[in-house]
């Protein structure tokens, strides 16, 4: 029996086969899947903002930011026996939910989140092998630890497997 482990907003977790990680309704947030195929270890982070360096000190929960969350997820996977050099990434989310937002602090936030995630993964030398980002709809993400497949479900646009 596989368990389903839910990853909340600004949260992260890992799972070993046969378990499944899920994060619901990614909007402008980005879900980052990391997978070590050698030991069937999966990790998933759900970030809200690009970088801890742009945030005031009152808001430093580290799982919230692309840069800090990815680093912590890698360390958590290493602690569970994963190897950094074997990790492959799949990412999803970063949509623009509202088209007319003029408020500058969150205009294009989906795009900026996606960009920040890619930068951090590049810095960590983790290749991105699949990407389902941007556009204007929410996504629920399932990551199967058994095979590293990322399944994306939307409210009205259908389902895909990456």
């Amino acid at each position: 029996m596989s368990r389903t482990i839910t990853v909340g907003i600004s949260d992260l977790n890992i799972a070993q086969a046969p378990d499944v990680l899920v994060t619901y309704a990614l909007g402008s947030c980005v879900g980052i899947c990391l997978y070590d195929a050698n030991i069937k270890l999966a990790g998933l982070a759900h970030i809200m903002l690009p970088s801890v360096s742009q945030a005031p000190s009152s808001a430093h929960q580290p799982f919230k930011f692309a840069d800090t969350a990815i680093e912590l997820l890698i360390r958590k996977m290493e602690a569970a026996g994963g190897r950094r050099v074997l990790l492959k990434a799949k990412i999803a989310g970063g949509a623009q939910m509202f088209s007319g937002l003029s408020n500058s602090s969150i205009a294009n936030i989906g795009q900026r989140n996606t960009q920040a995630v890619k930068m951090e993964l590049m810095r960590q030398r983790i290749p991105i092998i699949a990407e389902d980002t941007g556009k204007d709809y929410g996504r629920t993400l399932f990551l199967t630890a058994d095979d590293g497949m990322m399944r994306i479900k939307s409210a009205s646009k259908g389902e895909w497997v990456w």
Binding site: I9, F98, L101, S156
Partner: protein, 207 residues
């Protein structure tokens, strides 16, 4: 006051009352437009971390119609309407005379009808608070999105995540059917910390 958890009972009561007056006005504007009664609940004031926000609104994958307006002037923050599909259907049918099959396929005309309703409701809500507090509050044109509630709420959540680790909601449910949590619609008023302080001060309370 730095921390939202530090709000005391009197302050929470004041926020509930603000929600009450604001959404009471918004609901009566809506009721006039639709020419039918619109029930409204006693508002809840919730200080939540982001993880628990969507659970409080019926689960993250619930398909809702979201209308988002930014507040500017003396009070900054957001007002958000989350309309249940059935309610949005009824609204479009009443206002435009069109019978929509699926709220996912809103055309230009029906979405601008929904936006206009949001505009009028938000203006009624905000005017009530403005005249109560003597503060100047402006609203932006409403922005519309039909999707999973979690995805819709990621936008205000991200906006407030920039400022702090928690978010405060003044939440009202309207048009709730008895014993059925799924069919209600919500008005959310999400003020920024500084604005909360201004509202309190203008009402003669220390924050």
């Amino acid at each position: 006051m730095k921390n939202l958890d530090d709000l005391n009972d009197i302050q929470l009561d004041v926020l509930r009352e603000i929600g009450n007056i604001g959404s009471g006005n918004a609901a009566s504007a809506l009721s006039t437009m639709l020419d039918r009664p619109v029930d409204i609940s006693v508002p809840k004031v919730m200080v939540l971390d982001y993880n628990t926000v969507t659970e409080s609104l019926g689960g993250p994958e619930e398909l809702l119609v979201g209308l988002l307006l930014s507040l500017s002037g003396d009070v900054t923050g957001m007002i958000m309407f989350l309309l249940h599909k059935d309610f949005a259907h009824m609204m479009i049918n009443t206002l435009t005379g069109m019978d929509l099959e699926n709220v996912g396929d809103l055309d230009e005309f029906s979405s601008s009808a929904i936006r206009e309703v949001g505009n009028i409701m938000a203006a009624s809500y905000v005017n009530a608070i403005a005249s109560l507090t003597g503060l100047n509050i402006n609203i932006s044109p409403p922005d519309l999105c039909v999707d999973m509630v979690g995805a819709i709420l990621s936008v205000p959540a991200i906006y407030f995540a920039n400022i702090g680790d928690k978010i405060i909601f003044i939440q009202d449910e309207f048009d709730k059917k008895a014993n059925d949590n799924k069919t209600s619609s919500h008005i959310l008023m999400i003020p920024e910390m500084d604005s909360l302080a201004k509202i309190m001060t203008n009402l003669g309370l220390e924050l």
